[in-house]
């Protein structure tokens, strides 16, 4: 008996054969003609109603403008800051894997590294967490592994395609 796909097959939801469900739907799928005057009446009332609303209700986005601007600035700083350095040589990592120099290694470091690598830019050499002489996705995976490890340490030689090197530890 073919039945509607159950998005959650674990449930014991009663089901109806497809053909019967289709017949039921067809019976209730009346093609209706809506007289234009009805549409016009409803929508005219709607326009009148919405036109009466107080001005501050009309632009709710203004309430979010300041927080949104602050968030945008913070995001911009966060995005640019790790890739600029007063020494001109890229960020100096006090902690291996701490790409954004926040003082600890977290998933944001992996994200920042991935974004730079995916953008085709040259990452700082000291992002070479795996110690293989190059900064690539293996380093991103290594930093991600460090970030999610309970101990703050991760063995980057296993589970990441034979990456060699040692993972740094967060402070």
């Amino acid at each position: 008996m073919p039945t509607r796909d159950d998005p959650n097959p674990q449930t014991d939801e009663p089901r109806l054969p497809d053909e019967l469900a289709d017949r039921l739907s067809a019976m209730h799928d009346a093609r209706l003609f809506f007289p234009p005057d009805i549409d016009q009446a409803v929508l005219a009332k709607a326009r009148a109603r919405f036109g009466e609303m107080p001005e501050d209700r009309r632009r709710p986005w203004l309430r979010f403008a300041a927080p949104a601007a602050a968030a945008a600035i913070a995001l911009g700083v966060w995005t640019v800051w790790p890739f600029t350095d007063s020494t001109g040589g890229g960020p100096a990592l006090a902690v291996a894997g701490d790409a954004d120099r926040s003082g600890s290694v977290d998933i944001l470091d992996a994200f920042a590294m991935a974004r730079l690598i995916d953008a085709g830019q040259t990452p700082p050499a000291d992002w070479d967490v795996t110690g293989d002489g190059q900064v690539d996705r293996a380093d991103v995976l290594a930093v991600a592994a460090i970030a999610v490890s309970l101990s703050g340490q991760a063995d980057v030689t296993e589970g990441y395609g034979g990456i060699e090197g040692s993972g740094g530890a967060s402070s």
Partner: protein, 175 residues
Amino acid sequence: MDTANAGGSRGADAFEAIYHRHRSWVVNTAYRFTQDRDAALDVMQDVFMYLLGKFPGLVLTAKLTTFLYPVIKHTALQARRKAGRFAGSDEVLSELPAPRTPGTGAPGDGDDIERVLTALPAHQREVLLLRFVDGMTLQEAAVALGVPVGTVKSRIHHAIRSLREDPGTKKFFEV
């Protein structure tokens, strides 16, 4: 919905989009109770006026159809009651025939399905339509009807059992 809550011309545009997206469903659903096309259109207008009155400030915790269903049902039953044909909502529901479609006379055709649907208790037919015609989930149907999910499931189960056992519809279960 957020745009409609904003009011002004943007809110009106958003409401218009909501109206055009849901008006057919509202009328079809109202028709289940009114069995009268013009009355269903009247109900549709009342329902959208009710919805309009909720702006600004409408916060939906479920799908709009789930929110609107009890409004449609209540409004349609009131209209039916005002027409003086029935005394109470339970009676209205139990007397509601299923919508008619041309039948061929063969088992399982539109007439048979209609007859079986009509024979179902109203609360079973109602939940069957919500689930398999309107496409609501069990949870959504439960919210729309204001009953526990287990009740919805039980009603559907009994409705399907009736359909399975009825000579007019059991062939659908034998494929």
